[in-house]
Symmetry: C2
Subunit: 291 residues, 2 copies
């Protein structure tokens, strides 16, 4: 699409750091305290997050301007998975929250309702894929159907494999229709989760975030790590790669997700759309209405 490339230029945008997408290893082998690709410490990370916030906002506005309302327009879908307390809410507040809320659509997928259960597991997911020009964000997703379902045996190995196939077909279709898919697993240690749950128990203003079931689920930690390893290996495709993000350091997880979103948007490289009217003529018309 032809467009006027004005406003902040790519060259003026503050630099980020390289982050590799795609994952085929064992999740448990990745150190949850690592900060891959980033040399700095906490204060540097927080400064980077703030500095790149405006860049993310500008790219989101360009995406909206160039693609919203257009048949076949581009969009971004960020899928966030992770164990309880892994920091999904913090990603929503501190990374996604920096963007104009008019351009973002967050969907939180909890346990399916009876109505949702009557449909295929992708039914409720398809209804929330982002419109052109929009950054869609999934807080949990269709991946729950191959993670918690495997861990608790709610689906057998054959069924899980058939879901991988359905997921890959669905995501390929989405990607071919113009959506850049960014999938992240926020990877924390079992020890870190214990400390974060303890904080929820020690602060009355955090009790509402705790459920006794959270302690029960910790018993299945290794089974979850195994389920993640299998699911990520089966569904990390060229068009929709997974990134496992070490998340014991919240500040790192946030700049990493921000970086992936920036990479996705810079890949689309949306341009301000050219005017579909004669600018000088409209300036004259407008001037005639002013006293």
């Amino acid at each position: 699409m032809p467009g006027a490339d004005v406003g902040p230029q790519a060259a003026q945008r503050p630099a980020g750091f390289p982050i590799a997408s795609g994952w085929t290893g064992e999740v448990a082998d990745l150190d949850p305290r690592a900060t891959p690709g980033f040399e700095g410490r906490k204060a540097d990370g927080r400064a980077l997050l703030a500095r790149r916030d405006a860049t993310l906002g500008e790219l989101q506005e360009r995406l909206y301007a160039a693609h919203h309302g257009r048949e076949g327009g581009r969009s971004v879908l960020l899928i966030v998975q992770g164990m309880d307390t892994s920091g999904k809410g913090g990603i929503m507040r501190h990374v996604v929250g920096g963007v104009d809320p008019q351009g973002v659509d967050i969907a939180a997928f909890k346990a399916p309702t009876p109505a949702e259960k009557r449909h295929d597991f992708l039914w409720r997911i398809r209804r929330r894929t982002p419109a052109p020009g929009i950054i869609g964000v999934f807080d949990r997703s269709h991946y729950e159907d191959v993670l918690i379902h495997r861990v608790h045996g709610w689906a057998d190995a054959k069924e899980i494999r058939s879901r991988y196939t359905a997921i890959n077909a669905f995501e390929r279709e989405l990607s071919e229709a113009g959506t850049v898919i960014v999938k992240v697993m926020l990877h924390i240690s079992r020890q870190e989760q214990g400390e974060r749950l303890m904080e929820r128990l020690e602060r009355p203003d955090k009790h509402w975030k705790f459920s006794p079931g959270d302690v029960d689920e910790r018993e299945h930690w290794d089974a979850y790590m195994d389920a993640y390893t299998r699911a990520l290996r089966a569904t990390s495709t060229v068009g929709a790669p997974w990134t496992v993000i070490p998340a014991d350091r919240k500040w790192y997880a946030r700049i990493a997700v921000q970086q992936l979103l920036l990479d996705a948007l810079e890949g689309i490289d949306p341009q301000w759309p050219a005017a579909d009217f004669d600018v000088e003529e409209q300036i004259d018309r407008l001037r005639a209405t002013m006293d």
Copy 2:
């Protein structure tokens, strides 16, 4: 509901300013450059907006914690109306954007689609009213059906009156179900609109926001002011009062809307919900899982 009142206290919250809701006057009589209730200037206003952002965030989190997922829980609905360029988008970015996006649901109502037109004018509106615990925001609303429809004669006086009645009944029902309704008209001068449209024409990165029809609509300015005056008078109720906010100074309009949202939330006064489990017992259980 019994709850633990911990975390930032009301007494520690930074003070705001008094703003009167309810409107029965002529919109055109209100000075769009006024700053009613606020003594300060631009820098003070911007500082206030930033200072109260955390308070708004804290109250929103309490609302979510106390009411989300509850049958009959409370919610807030902010309805934003105003002429083109009156600053609705800025309210979304700078006031609503300060809140955790997981607790907010923004609906932008544009010209209805053919499918929407086959239904009653409140049909698409009802589908987007906020769930318990959520702050819903309407960027334009069902009021377009008594504003632009009156100005362009798409509905006659009798039909408009019947829509007022339907709106009041709908909003009363919503309010009785637990939603606090905040309705604002961002009031700019015709001169200010001309300057803001000119800026859109002069900046290529703003061309996408301009449409030649915006200039045509300026011809109907007085008719719009009259339509607003009539609509606000007919629908400013005790349960859902209108506030006309002078909006030539963007910074003032933003602190005024923020103040109204804070007043709405403080009226609900949501409390952190009490734990529905034995806290000490869960601490012991959790500790047993930690090495």
